[in-house]
C-alpha cells in the first residue's frame, strides 16, 4: 500500500514537471521572434520530464518489487539531475527578474527535489521490504 501511494505520487509529480514546464511555469517567451537561452533549458526539462513520466508509469504498472526499486533509483538520479538544468547546466536569461528566474527555475527545482525525495522514499521502502522478505 505504502509503495503504491509512493509510485502514484512519483507519476503525478513527474507529469506536473513535464506539463508545467511548457505551460503554467514555462520559461520566457520569444523576443522579437528570437528564442532566448532559457527556451533550451525549458526544452531539456520537458524532455527529461517525459522520460521521468514514462519511468514512473512503468514503475506503477510492474509488480516485481526489485524492478520497482531499480526504476525508483533511476527516477531519483534523473530528478536530482533535473534540478541542475535551469541556470547551472543551461544558462537562463540575463536578468533575474525575468520569468525563467522567478517562476521556471524555482518551480523546476522544487518539483524535481520533491520527486527525488519521493523516489528515495520508495527506494528505502523497497530495500526494507526486500530485507523483510529475505528474513
Amino acid at each position: 500500500m505504502k509503495r503504491t501511494i509512493l509510485g502514484l505520487a512519483q507519476g503525478v509529480t513527474a507529469l506536473v514537471l513535464t506539463i508545467g514546464a511548457f505551460t503554467f511555469f514555462k520559461a520566457c517567451g520569444d523576443m522579437d521572434g528570437k528564442f532566448m537561452a532559457c527556451h533550451w533549458a525549458q526544452n531539456a526539462v520537458v524532455l527529461v520530464g517525459i522520460v521521468l513520466s514514462v519511468l514512473a508509469l512503468v514503475r506503477i504498472l510492474l509488480r516485481d518489487d526489485n524492478i520497482r526499486t531499480g526504476l525508483s533509483i533511476g527516477i531519483f538520479a534523473l530528478s536530482a539531475a533535473t534540478a541542475f538544468i535551469p541556470g547551472t547546466a543551461i544558462n537562463l536569461c540575463m536578468m533575474e527578474d525575468m520569468a525563467c528566474h522567478t517562476t521556471f527555475k524555482p518551480a523546476v527545482i522544487v518539483i524535481s527535489v520533491l520527486l527525488a525525495v519521493l523516489s528515495l522514499g520508495d527506494v528505502i521502502a523497497g530495500f526494507a521490504a526486500g530485507k523483510r522478505r529475505s528474513q
Binding site: C93, M95, E96, D97, P106
Partner: protein, 401 residues
C-alpha cells in the same frame, strides 16, 4: 509494548485523525513562519530603499517628472531614459539651499545584445556623487575607468566578464549586493563611459538624442539640501525658478510604497493571528471530541495498570508528536514557497523585497515551531485532564450494555 511504541501506534493506528491534526499544524506553522519571513523581507526592502536614496531631491526633465515613472525606475527596475540641457546644473547652483548636487545619465541597452533583456545603464559623476558611491564602495572601491562597469545583483554577469553594450566591450569590475529594488537590474558606469555609449548608439543608428551632443546633456540631478533649509521649500523654489524641469522630493516617492507596505503588513499580521486562533480552536474541538470517543480505550488502559498521570502524558505526548512533525513540515513547505519564489512574490507585490539574514530566518522558524508545539499540547490539556479522571467501572459497564 514500550510507552514510546504505544504512542506511535496510537498515532499511526488512526491515520485520518492524525493526518487532519497534522494538516492543521502544517497550516499554522507555515502561516506564522512564511508570514513573518515575507513581512521581514518587505520591511528590509523599504529600509534598504530609504538608505540607498541618499539625496533629498531629484531633478528630472518635466516630461519625465511623473512621480510614478521615477518610482517605477527606482523600485521595479522599469528601464527608461530622458535628457535635459546641462545648463540646469548651473541654474541649480544659484538656488538658495542647495548644498551639493550631482548629475546622472540614464541609458538603456539594446535588447538583442544583452542576451534577452534591456538593461538600465546609470552613469554617475564620481567627483560629485552623493547617492550612488556610498553603497558601491563594497562592490568596488577604486575609481571606475573608461568602459568599466558595476553590475546589479540580479544580473547574471560575473566580475571580470565582458558585457557588450552597443558594440562596446565593457568590463564588469564589481557586483552589487542585493537591495531588493529596481536598481538590482541596473548597470553602473562613470559618466564618461555612458557618454561614450551614447555616441556608440548614435553611430549604430540608434537615436538616443535628437540633436545635441552627449556632452551637453544630463538625465537627472541629485541634490543634498543645506542643513536648516526646508526640503519642501527648496523643491518648490526649483520648480518655480527653473523652466522645463521637475524637482521631486525623494521621500515622497517612497511614501506610496511605504503605505502599501503598511497595509500588507497589517494584512499579514491579521492573517497570522486568524490562522493561530482558528487552529487553536479546531485543535481544542478535535481533542475534546476525541476524549469522548476514546473513553473506552483509556478505561481499558486504566484497568491494565496505567496511572492517571501516565494517561495524561499519553494524550499530551500524542499531541506533541503530531505538532512537532506538523511544525517541521509547515516550516519546510513555507521555506520551499517563500525562498525560491521570493522574486515572483516581489514582482507580483510590486514592492521591494530583501530576504532577512539566516539568523533572523532561524529565529522565525523557532517562533513558529514553538507556537505550534505549545498550542497543540495546551489544546489537548483539558482532554488529558478529563481522560485521566474517567470513572473506569462506569465506562466499561456502559460499553458492555
Amino acid at each position: 509494548m514500550s510507552i514510546k511504541k504505544l504512542l506511535l501506534k496510537s498515532i499511526t493506528g488512526r491515520p485520518l485523525r492524525s493526518l487532519a491534526l497534522l494538516f492543521i499544524c502544517v497550516i499554522m506553522s507555515g502561516a506564522v513562519y512564511g508570514g513573518a519571513v515575507v513581512w521581514a523581507s518587505l520591511d528590509n526592502g523599504i529600509s534598504s530603499l530609504e538608505k540607498r536614496l541618499g539625496a533629498d531631491i531629484i531633478v528630472v526633465p518635466k516630461s519625465a517628472g511623473e512621480k510614478t515613472r521615477l518610482e517605477e525606475m527606482l523600485l521595479q527596475g522599469t528601464v527608461g531614459y530622458f535628457y535635459m540641457d546641462k545648463s540646469v546644473s548651473a541654474e541649480l547652483d544659484k538656488i538658495d539651499g542647495v548644498e551639493k548636487q550631482s548629475s546622472q545619465y540614464f541609458l538603456v541597452s539594446a535588447s538583442s545584445e544583452c542576451c534577452s533583456a534591456k538593461v538600465q545603464i546609470i552613469g554617475f559623476d564620481e567627483d560629485t556623487d552623493i547617492s550612488v558611491k556610498p553603497w558601491l564602495q563594497n562592490a568596488y572601491s577604486k575609481r571606475l575607468g573608461q568602459n568599466e562597469i558595476i553590475v546589479g545583483s540580479k544580473l547574471t554577469t560575473k566580475v571580470g566578464q565582458i558585457f557588450k553594450l552597443y558594440g562596446v566591450e565593457c568590463k564588469a569590475v564589481g557586483k552589487l549586493g542585493s537591495t531588493g529594488t529596481g536598481v538590482d537590474t541596473a548597470v553602473y558606469a562613470s559618466s564618461d563611459t555612458v557618454k561614450g555609449l551614447i555616441r556608440a548608439a548614435q553611430s549604430k543608428g540608434i537615436s538616443v538624442l535628437s540633436k545635441q551632443s552627449p556632452d551637453d546633456v544630463i538625465s537627472s540631478v541629485y541634490i543634498k539640501v543645506r542643513e536648516g533649509y526646508d526640503i519642501d521649500e527648496v523643491t518648490a523654489k526649483i520648480n518655480l525658478g527653473i523652466d522645463g524641469v521637475q524637482a521631486v522630493r525623494t521621500r515622497s516617492m517612497i511614501t506610496g510604497t511605504a503605505d502599501k507596505l503598511s497595509v500588507l503588513s497589517a494584512g499579514i499580521t491579521i492573517l497570522i493571528a486568524a490562522v493561530c486562533i482558528l487552529s487553536a480552536v479546531i485543535m481544542l474541538v478535535v481533542f475534546t471530541a476525541l476524549a469522548n470517543e476514546r473513553k473506552g480505550e483509556f478505561a481499558l488502559l486504566r484497568v491494565i495498570g496505567f496511572s492517571r498521570a501516565r494517561l495524561a502524558r499519553q494524550v499530551l505526548g500524542e499531541a506533541f508528536v503530531i505538532c512537532v512533525i506538523g511544525a517541521l513540515a509547515g516550516i519546510a513547505a513555507a521555506s520551499a514557497a517563500v525562498f525560491p519564489f521570493g522574486a515572483l512574490i516581489e514582482k507580483k507585490a510590486d514592492l521591494p523585497m530583501l530576504s532577512p539574514g539566516i539568523v533572523s530566518v532561524i529565529g522565525y522558524a523557532l517562533i513558529a515551531f514553538a507556537a505550534v508545539c505549545v498550542t497543540g499540547p495546551l489544546a489537548s490539556a483539558y482532554s488529558a485532564y478529563r481522560l485521566s479522571r474517567i470513572d473506569t467501572g462506569r465506562i466499561l459497564r456502559e460499553g458492555d450494555s
